[in-house]
């Protein structure tokens, strides 16, 4: 893989990130209403409101030549030029972004970066576990189903996958919760949170055992949904690849059936799967929001829901940016993987 290839992909990813940051900025500025009114009780004076506005930098024009009217709508006001060329919220915001300052959370009175950091790793743990399980299990099921197309295993895999694929993840989560975390079914696992509340863990091993017990149900929920999608893609990819002429060539050369599949069919069939897994990473994070809410998993999904309820816009803006970053990185990784797997794109 040439360094030019890597640099081009990295450049593309950075450009995407910048576009997302710009979009994210305007998305939240275009929301109607005055954040200051949301933050302060109705009873405070106009002077106090203005003081907060200046403190938050909201008195500045949004963008060169664009200001926010008292009614809260964005308006073009060319009289602010040329001062607003340098002094505007956009430049300030982008500058802050460069030093990883995402502002203060309205509700928690601490930096957004810290709030997100608290919730980031639980989500990474949950989504990472689910993705790894789903990738391995889904691909294995897809390989076997596609190889033995029309067999009982294939029919079972397709129908099972379609059902799982169609079921909303939060509903599947509730079902598993009901069956395996409440006394209505068999209460094998704790249903809520990431660790048992109030528990004092004497050592790291006990802590992780507790976390894994809590992780099992939400990760299983998310993984089940993902396995279905991965298995379906891998299966159809296998079916297509096995029709290719080079598979016949391999057979003609005297390879055994399993050699044909292992050496010539699986590596080639993995290519589309890699792309799709990366492309759906955003949906996975989206699906994780519902699952986290069902199991009260203290991740970014729960954080988003809390932030919406509390109108904590800086946190929302920050979470959106982090999620976008994750999707961009997932795509970058997929591009690199593709470069390793497929020599044709390496040029």
């Amino acid at each position: 893989m040439g360094s030019a290839f890597v640099l081009r992909k990295l450049g593309g990813a950075l450009l995407t990130l910048f576009a997302i940051a710009v979009l994210n900025f305007f998305l939240f500025r275009m929301l109607p209403g005055d954040p200051v009114n949301t933050l302060l009780p109705r009873t405070v004076s106009q002077a106090q409101k203005n003081a907060l506005r200046i403190h938050l930098g909201l008195d500045q024009p949004v963008f060169p030549g664009i200001v926010r009217s008292p009614q809260g709508a964005l308006e073009i006001d060319l009289s602010t030029l040329p001062d607003s060329l340098l002094q505007n919220q956009f430049l300030t915001s982008m500058g802050n972004l460069l030093v990883l300052d995402l502002g203060q959370s309205f509700s928690e009175r601490k930096p957004v970066t810290e709030v997100i950091a608290d919730h980031f790793w639980p989500t990474v743990l949950l989504v990472g576990t689910a993705e790894v399980i789903a990738l391995v299990v889904g691909v294995l099921i897809g390989i076997r189903a596609g190889w033995r197309r029309g067999s009982r295993f294939d029919r079972l895999a397709i129908n099972g996958s379609l059902v799982l694929y169609a079921v909303p993840l939060f509903w599947l989560g509730m079902l598993l919760f009901y069956l395996f975390a409440t006394s209505n079914g068999i209460a094998l696992f704790p249903g809520q949170q990431m660790v048992t509340p109030g528990a004092r863990h004497t050592d790291l091993v006990a802590y992780w055992v507790d976390v894994l017990r809590h992780l099992f149900l939400p990760a299983a929920t998310l993984a089940l949904g993902l396995i279905a999608g991965n298995a379906l893609i891998m299966r159809s990819s296998m079916v297509e690849t096995l029709k290719d002429d080079y598979v016949t060539t391999a057979r003609a050369k005297g390879l055994t059936e399993s050699q044909v599949v292992r050496r010539h069919a699986i590596p080639n069939a993995l290519l589309p799967t890699v792309t799709v897994v990366a492309l759906t990473f955003g949906y996975v994070l989206g699906g994780a929001i519902g699952v986290e809410e069902v199991y009260a998993w203290p991740g970014m999904g729960s954080l988003i829901i809390d932030a919406i309820e509390r109108k904590d816009f800086p946190v929302l803006q920050g979470v959106f940016l982090v999620i976008a970053l994750c999707v961009v990185i997932a795509n970058l990784v997929a591009d690199m993987m593709y470069g390793i797997l497929d020599p044709r794109v390496r040029t």
Binding site: Y246, K253, L255, H264, N268
Partner: protein, 415 residues
């Protein structure tokens, strides 16, 4: 004893709706060591299926229903899969059509060529295999520096050379070339054919060359085998068959090749299409498209008769003296019989009984001398352009039922 001896080969495909289509129907084929046989016919005539059956590469819904394939006297059809696998590539290798898809796009060409060596000769070290692949590359005219490249880095002709190197990797005695020059431009085509011819001489390979290009056969092969609709039409030494074809189908096929030195016009071609395997035609399968069709052709399957020098032909219009009789000498076809046959065989026939049979002049064949090489006198050169269809039993076309499966439903019946 012949190296390859195929007797009464019947290949059947099971269609999606459970019906059986017989794609190859009773083909005999002999090949001596070091001999080259050209297998010709239109698309869908069963040439590729015959070859795939010999190499046991039929798709899952196809099977050899009858017949034997003997290599050195040993019946290959009797071997189980594991035993046959050991014979693959060491005895019979295949040069596939269009090497783009026949090579795995994500593996290095050197590894792909070395793969059969390492599988069939487990004692070979990787380094020894690599050296042999380098030799093979030199043999087919590729720089051994390109071992570590991928198929997409090669041009079409170079890829075909890689494919040929791969086919020779385990020193097979029989190589089947499945339209190895199709989709290559003419210059490259000539180079590849020259290479095949040279390798065949140097290595003493027996070659089955599948093609629809008769001039390719004339240049590279010792014998020709013409197939029509899954059956043998005519086979014989290249000079005899090309110089004086006995079967009307061979004759028309040879006429379909444009004449470079003659007048500038398109060759006559053969109107109509071969019948589809799932609705076979009665009697001689070529009769709906044949200008010499007689009552006998509609009812009786012609037997294969020999006319010296391994020249064999299956046609009712060939007399005992080994001469294809011109239409004027043949009995008229009763229209009632043609219609009756058409209704049973599922083809629609428009018969104009008054103009039957068509005169020999209409076809440009000098009466009494049908064996004259057709290139000498292009069809209809003197008079007005020949009507594309002789008005006798033609135009004939198969009534294609929209719901009936076409040959497209058969994977790789004849690519």
């Amino acid at each position: 004893m012949a190296l390859l001896e195929v007797r009464d080969l019947v290949v059947e495909f099971t269609l999606g709706d459970g019906r059986i289509a017989r794609v190859v129907d009773g083909v005999d084929l002999d090949l001596d060591a070091g001999e080259a046989l050209g297998l010709v016919g239109e698309s869908g005539c069963g040439k590729t299926t015959t070859a795939l059956a010999i190499a046991r590469l039929l798709p899952a819904n196809g099977r050899i229903a009858r017949g034997t394939v003997r290599l050195d006297g040993q019946d290959l059809t009797a071997l189980d899969d594991a035993a046959f696998r050991d014979r693959r590539w060491t005895d019979i290798s295949v040069i596939f059509q269009g090497a783009m898809n026949a090579l795995n796009p994500v593996r290095r060409v050197g590894d792909q060529v070395a793969e059969p060596i390492l599988i069939h000769e487990p004692t070979t070290t990787r380094e020894a295999a690599r050296r042999r692949v380098a030799e093979l590359f030199e043999l087919v005219g590729i720089s051994p520096d390109r071992l570590r490249e991928y198929p997409h880095q090669f041009s079409g002709g170079m890829r075909q050379r890689v494919m040929i190197a791969m086919a020779l990797a385990c020193r097979p005695r029989l190589v089947i070339g499945d339209e190895p020059t199709t989709a290559l431009d003419v210059m490259v085509q000539a180079q590849i054919l020259e290479l095949l011819e040279r390798l065949r001489r140097e290595l003493g390979l027996a070659l089955i060359l599948i093609t629809h290009d008769l001039s390719v056969v004339a240049e590279t092969c010792d014998r020709t085998l013409v197939m029509y609709a899954g059956r043998l039409a005519e086979t014989g030494p290249v000079e005899r068959l090309h110089g004086g074809p006995l079967h009307p189908y061979s004759l028309r096929l040879l006429r379909s090749v444009p004449d470079l030195s003659g007048e500038r016009r398109l060759p006559a071609g053969i109107p109509g299409q071969p019948p589809s395997p799932e609705s076979p035609v009665s009697g001689c399968r070529f009769h709906p498209r044949c200008d010499r069709a007689m009552a006998q052709c509609v009812t009786d399957v012609p037997v294969v008769r020999s006319f010296g020098e391994a020249h064999r032909v299956a046609c009712h219009a060939v007399g005992e003296e080994g001469r294809l009789r011109p239409p004027g000498e043949l009995p008229r076809i009763p229209s009632a019989l043609a219609i009756a046959a058409a209704s049973t065989s599922g083809v629609e026939v428009a018969v104009d009984a008054d103009v039957l049979p068509v005169s020999a002049d209409d076809l440009g064949v000098p009466p009494g001398d049908p064996r004259e090489p057709p290139a000498d006198r292009p069809v209809g050169v003197a008079g007005p352009p020949m009507p594309p269809v002789p008005p006798s039993v033609a135009p004939v076309r198969t009534t294609t039922d929209a719901s009936a499966p076409t040959t497209d439903d058969l994977p790789r019946v004849d690519a």
